[in-house]
Symmetry: C2
């Protein structure tokens, strides 16, 4: 926690923050960072029609382990619109390790926009000025809604969307502490903050026990990250 | 339908559009305008924790009457966050007709951001480039997310959030044909396009049969609009 991160405006009460928690290692590290900054963390996850529940079970454990004051799971049916391998079992998750110029079929249309919109609604009610999201634009799958220019545009919109935007108090910030980090750096940072990566699930097609496939894009990025960080990889493969 | 609104890029197929339909008279008129432009309209409504269902029943009828090709109702629990008289029955809907400098308690935090985020997800799957929303910044309740600057910022964000944003094809537009109209002008426009206003429900606290209170902000704006437009007011009061 750096000195600048501490609220020095006349109160010692922890400042509330919304933290999006998926159950993966990035958002777990993001929550650990928000806690290390002294925030009172309200964790938010989504049952959005994804293929498996292992991720949400992991999110519940992560929120508890890392000291969130509460954890809510919103039920939304993004799967109703289709268009993604993560919500439509008729579209196969790629396992060929081909990363590339085009956006992969695991992209869920407008997912981060929807997640951040709910986080914004909750932030407004709680009068929180920080929303943490563990997006990363380095070792990632090429999704448009993980890029810094998207996050900046969302923050700008958010400050016009809300009561705060009209009444002109403190701006709302979309906090992306991982956005410029390599996967290995995220793992090192999380390890230093005591994240139990054994709880987290990154696999796009984990089984109900949370065991990973080892072949999808997300598994490949995760395994290479542990290797590069020199941190023991606790992932259980099926 | 003006000449510019017609798609002239080599196809006569109707272009898809997402239209947010609440069941009120503004969104009904907005749907009628989208249809008059020749769009194939996909209507979207939300069961978001609002006080009454009369609005959604009206939305279903409006979508059918005005020729939407389909109508979906997403279930989302914005009420879980609280903070609004429209989703929290412990907060009274004001009936004193005082409009003013502050944002009223009927404001639902980040509602239009959430609605537009879902519309964006659907638009991306359908490859629609137009999202219609019946917001109005003239005769309205002073909600921050009805202002043109919010809509512009959302559109900018949306074009960075999506596949289209990266792959650089046609931009997505947030269409707000009512934004600069007075309530009376909206009513005149809707009447000219054949909207059956008797189907629509505007009241913040309608009963289950859709009968209006006649006292809330929304009822007052609506009644004054019919009066000013010289259009017979079909509203049924309880």
């Amino acid at each position: 926690m750096t000195k600048q991160d501490v609220d020095t405006r006349g109160t010692d009460a922890p400042r509330p923050a919304i933290v999006l928690v998926s159950g993966g290692l990035d958002s777990a590290t993001c929550l650990a960072i928000a806690r290390a900054e002294g925030h009172r963390c309200h964790a938010l996850s989504f049952q959005y029609g994804q293929r498996h529940h292992a991720e949400l079970n992991a999110a519940r454990k992560v929120a508890a382990q890392l000291g969130a004051v509460e954890h809510r799971v919103m039920q939304i049916d993004l799967g109703a619109f289709g268009g993604s391998a993560l919500t439509d079992t008729s579209i196969a998750v790629p396992e060929d390790g081909a990363s590339g110029a085009t956006i992969p079929v695991t992209y869920v249309p407008a997912r981060n926009t929807v997640f951040l919109a709910f986080a914004l609604a909750w932030a407004e009610v709680l009068q929180a000025h920080d929303i943490f999201i563990g997006v990363n634009a380095v070792d990632y799958s090429g999704y448009p809604d993980c890029r810094p220019e998207f996050i900046d545009a969302f923050a700008r919109m958010a400050n016009l969307a809300t009561r705060e935007g009209i009444e002109g108090r403190e701006p709302l910030r979309i906090r992306t502490p991982l956005i410029d980090l390599r996967k290995a750096e995220i793992i090192s940072r999380g390890a230093a903050l005591g994240v139990d990566f054994g709880t987290t699930v990154s696999c796009y097609q984990a089984d109900e026990q949370g065991r990973a496939c080892g072949r999808c894009d997300s598994c490949r990025l995760r395994a290479a990250g542990f290797e590069a960080a020199g941190v023991p990889d606790p992932t259980v493969y099926r």
